[in-house]
C-alpha cells in the first residue's frame, strides 16, 4: 500500500482505528477456542453456573476419565488418525502422479480430460451420500476404513494443485534430459519430479490431512460400530445422552482440535499461501 507522504493526524487515527478493529475481531474469533479449553477443565455444574468459568479449573482429569468410561476414546482417536493418514499419503502419491501426467506430457484428449477433473469439483458432495452409502453397503465395505480412504485417494483439488505447481516449477528440459540419461517415465516422476515439488506436497498434505481429520457426514453413515467410528462421530453421540457431560465433551473436543492447532501453528503460512494460490493467478 502507498505510504502517505506525511503522517497526518487523520491517517494516524485511521491506523489506530484499524488496529482496534482487528484486535476486536481477532478476540471474537479466538473466544470460542478459549472457552473450549477452559470448559474442558470444568464440571458441568460449573460450566452452566453463574458466572460461567473464565479461567481454567481442575477437572480436566475427571473429564478425561468420563470420556474413557463412556466411549472408546483412544480407539476413536486412532481411527481418526489412521483415516487421515491413509487419505493423505495416497492423495499425495496419486495426485502428484496425475498432476505430473497433465503437466509434462502432450497427449490426445489432455485438455478434455483435465476439464473433466475440474468439472467434478462442481458436483455437490452431499448429492452422493446416499448412493455412495448403498454402493459401500453392496460391496460389503460398511464398517471398514477403506470405504472412506479408497474413494478419496485421487481428488480433483489435489490434481489441480499439483499440475499448477509442476507447470510453473519444473522445466520440461529437465524431464527430457532425464530421458536421455535413460530414466523410465515413472523414474522421472519418482526420482526427479517428486523431490522438486516438496513444498507443494507439503501444502497438499496439510490441506488433505485437515479435511480428512474433520470428516463427519460420510463417516457417520458408513461406520456403524463404536470400534470403527472416528472421534468427531463418537463425540457427537455423547451429546445424545440425557445427562450430557459437557465438560467431558469439551475435553474430547479440545483433544480433537489440539493437533490441528499445533500443525497450523507450525505451518500457517505455507497452508494459507497454498490454499489461495490455486484460486488466484498472478
Amino acid at each position: 500500500m502507498v505510504k502517505p507522504k506525511k503522517t497526518s493526524a487523520s491517517s494516524l487515527l485511521l491506523r489506530m482505528g484499524g488496529y482496534a478493529l482487528l484486535i476486536f475481531g481477532g478476540l471474537l474469533t479466538i473466544a470460542p477456542f478459549y472457552f473450549m479449553f477452559v470448559f474442558a477443565t470444568h464440571q458441568r455444574s460449573e460450566i452452566f453456573g453463574f458466572p460461567p468459568p473464565i479461567w481454567f479449573g481442575e477437572h480436566f482429569w475427571s473429564n478425561y476419565q468420563i470420556l474413557l468410561q463412556k466411549i472408546p476414546f483412544w480407539r476413536a482417536y486412532w481411527n481418526t488418525f489412521y483415516l487421515a493418514f491413509m487419505i493423505t499419503i495416497t492423495t499425495l502419491f496419486f495426485c502428484s502422479l496425475a498432476g505430473f501426467g497433465f503437466a509434462m506430457y502432450n497427449f490426445r484428449w489432455r485438455e478434455q480430460l483435465f476439464g473433466v477433473v475440474l468439472a467434478t469439483l462442481l458436483i455437490p458432495a452431499i448429492l452422493n451420500l446416499i448412493p455412495f452409502y448403498l454402493l459401500i453397503y453392496q460391496i460389503g465395505w460398511i464398517n471398514t476404513p477403506k470405504a472412506l480412504w479408497v474413494p478419496a485417494m485421487a481428488g480433483a483439488v489435489g490434481i489441480f494443485m499439483m499440475r499448477q505447481y509442476i507447470v510453473s516449477a519444473i522445466p520440461k528440459e529437465l524431464v527430457d534430459a532425464a530421458r536421455i540419461d535413460g530414466c523410465s517415465e515413472f523414474q522421472i516422476y519418482w526420482r526427479i519430479v517428486l523431490p522438486l515439488i516438496r513444498p507443494a506436497l507439503g501444502t497438499l498434505g496439510l490441506v488433505t490431512f485437515i479435511g480428512a481429520w474433520n470428516k463427519f457426514a460420510d463417516v457417520n453413515v458408513i461406520m456403524r460400530t463404536q470400534e470403527t467410528k472416528t472421534l468427531p462421530v463418537v463425540l457427537r453421540t455423547l451429546q445424545g445422552a440425557t445427562d450430557v457431560e459437557w465438560g467431558a465433551i469439551m475435553a474430547g473436543t479440545a483433544l480433537l482440535v489440539a493437533p490441528l492447532l499445533l500443525v497450523f501453528a507450525l505451518a500457517a503460512r505455507q497452508l494459507m499461501e497454498g490454499l489461495t494460490s490455486g484460486a488466484v493467478k498472478n
Binding site: 500500500m1 484499524g18 472457552f35 460461567p52 501426467g101 451420500l129 448412493p131 490434481i159 463425540l235 451429546q239
Partner: protein
C-alpha cells in the same frame, strides 16, 4: 534451444530401447492419470447416476437388494407436496443468505484493513482469523452448543451485559434468549457459520488485494483520491473476479449445510425445532430414519439442480470480467 537438440537426438537414434521409450512416453500419461478416472467412475459418476435412477424408484432396505419398483415421478411429487420439504428449503435459503452475505460484507473491508495497516503481523493476524476454517465443524457446533446455553450461556451473558449500555441496550432483548427454539435456532446457526467462514473469505480477498498493482493506488493518491475513493474505485472493481469465486464457494457450501445444524440440533431433533432443519438434514432423515431411499435421492437431485441454478445466477451477476479466476 536444448529442447530441439534433445528431440533430434531421440529421432536420430532409433532402436529397440528407443521404441520402448516412445511407447512409454505415449501411454505413460494415461496410466498416471487413470487412478482419478477409475475412482471417479466407480465412486463418483456411478453413484450419481444411480441416485438419478433411484429417484424414480421406490425402495427401502427391507425390500432386499435389487427389488426396485418403478414409480415414475412419485418421489418428486411427494417431495414437492411435503410441507416439511418447503420448510427445509426456506430454512436453507434463509440461512444461505443470512450466513452468506455477512461473511462477504465483513471479509472484504477486513481484508482491506489488514492490507492497509499491517505489514509485519499480516500473516499472524490472518492466521488468527483463519483458525475456525481449519477446525472441525462438529467441534465448532459442540463448542457453540455450550456458548448458546439459555441460562448462563456465555452469549446470553454478553447480551445481558450489553443491555446495560445506553442506546445499544434499547435494541437488545432484556431476557435470556432460548436459542434452541424453532424461531431462534436460525440466528444461532447463521452466527456459527459466519464465525466459521469469514476468515476463509478474508484470506481469499486478501490474496486478491495483494495482487492489485501498487502503482494504481499511487497514481490515484497523486490525483488526490482519498482512501475511501481508492477502496471504492480501485479495490472493489478489481476484486470482482475474486467475489465471483468466493460467492460461488459460499453458495455451494451454504446450500449443503449439514454438520453445523445436525450437531447444534443434537442429531436433528427437527420435529421439535423445524426452524433449523436444512434440505440436507431433511434428505438425511428421509434416507436413514424413514429409510425412503428413492425419495431421498429425489431430494438430492432437486438440491443439485437448485445449486446449479444459483451458481448460474451468480455467474450472470459477477461472472462478467471474472476472467482472472478459473
Amino acid at each position: 534451444m536444448r529442447k530441439t537438440v534433445s528431440r533430434l537426438e531421440i529421432r536420430g537414434s532409433p532402436g529397440v530401447g528407443m521404441r520402448w521409450s516412445n511407447f512409454q512416453r505415449r501411454y505413460a500419461p494415461y496410466i498416471f492419470i487413470s487412478p482419478f478416472f477409475i475412482l471417479f467412475l466407480v465412486f463418483g459418476l456411478y453413484p450419481s447416476l444411480f441416485s438419478l435412477y433411484m429417484s424414480f424408484q421406490a425402495w427401502t432396505p427391507s425390500d432386499g437388494w435389487g427389488r426396485w419398483k418403478f414409480v415414475g415421478l412419485e418421489n418428486y411429487t411427494f417431495t414437492f407436496t411435503d410441507p416439511m420439504f418447503w420448510r427445509s428449503l426456506w430454512n436453507t435459503v434463509w440461512l444461505g443468505v443470512f450466513s452468506g452475505v455477512p461473511q462477504h460484507l465483513i471479509a472484504i473491508p477486513l481484508a482491506f484493513v489488514i492490507h492497509m495497516v499491517l505489514s509485519r503481523f499480516k500473516t499472524f493476524v490472518t492466521a488468527v482469523y483463519f483458525l475456525p476454517y481449519i477446525t472441525s465443524s462438529v467441534a465448532i457446533a459442540l463448542i457453540f452448543n455450550t456458548l448458546f446455553a439459555t441460562h448462563n450461556g456465555v452469549i446470553n451473558l454478553v447480551i445481558a451485559h450489553l443491555n446495560t449500555w445506553p442506546l445499544l441496550g434499547a435494541l437488545l432483548p432484556d431476557q435470556n434468549i432460548n436459542w434452541f427454539t424453532s424461531a431462534n435456532i436460525k440466528y444461532a446457526l447463521a452466527l456459527v457459520v459466519v464465525w466459521q467462514f469469514t476468515g476463509w473469505n478474508t484470506l481469499l480477498y486478501l490474496s486478491a488485494i495483494q495482487a492489485i498493482p501498487k502503482d494504481l493506488y499511487e497514481a490515484a493518491a497523486v490525483d488526490g483520491a482519498s482512501r475511501w475513493q481508492q477502496f471504492r474505485y480501485i479495490t472493489l472493481p478489481l476484486l470482482r473476479p475474486m467475489m465471483f469465486f468466493a460467492v460461488s464457494l459460499t453458495i455451494i457450501g451454504n446450500m449443503q449445510l449439514f454438520e453445523q445444524p445436525f450437531v447444534l440440533l443434537n442429531g436433528g431433533a427437527s420435529t421439535a425445532t423445524p426452524g433449523g432443519q436444512t434440505v440436507t438434514m431433511y434428505m438425511y432423515r428421509t434416507a436413514f430414519e424413514w429409510l425412503e431411499m428413492g425419495t431421498a435421492a429425489s431430494i438430492a437431485w432437486i438440491l443439485f439442480i437448485l445449486i446449479g441454478v444459483l451458481t448460474y445466477l451468480n455467474n450472470l451477476i459477477f461472472g462478467r470480467g471474472a476472467r482472472g479466476v478459473d
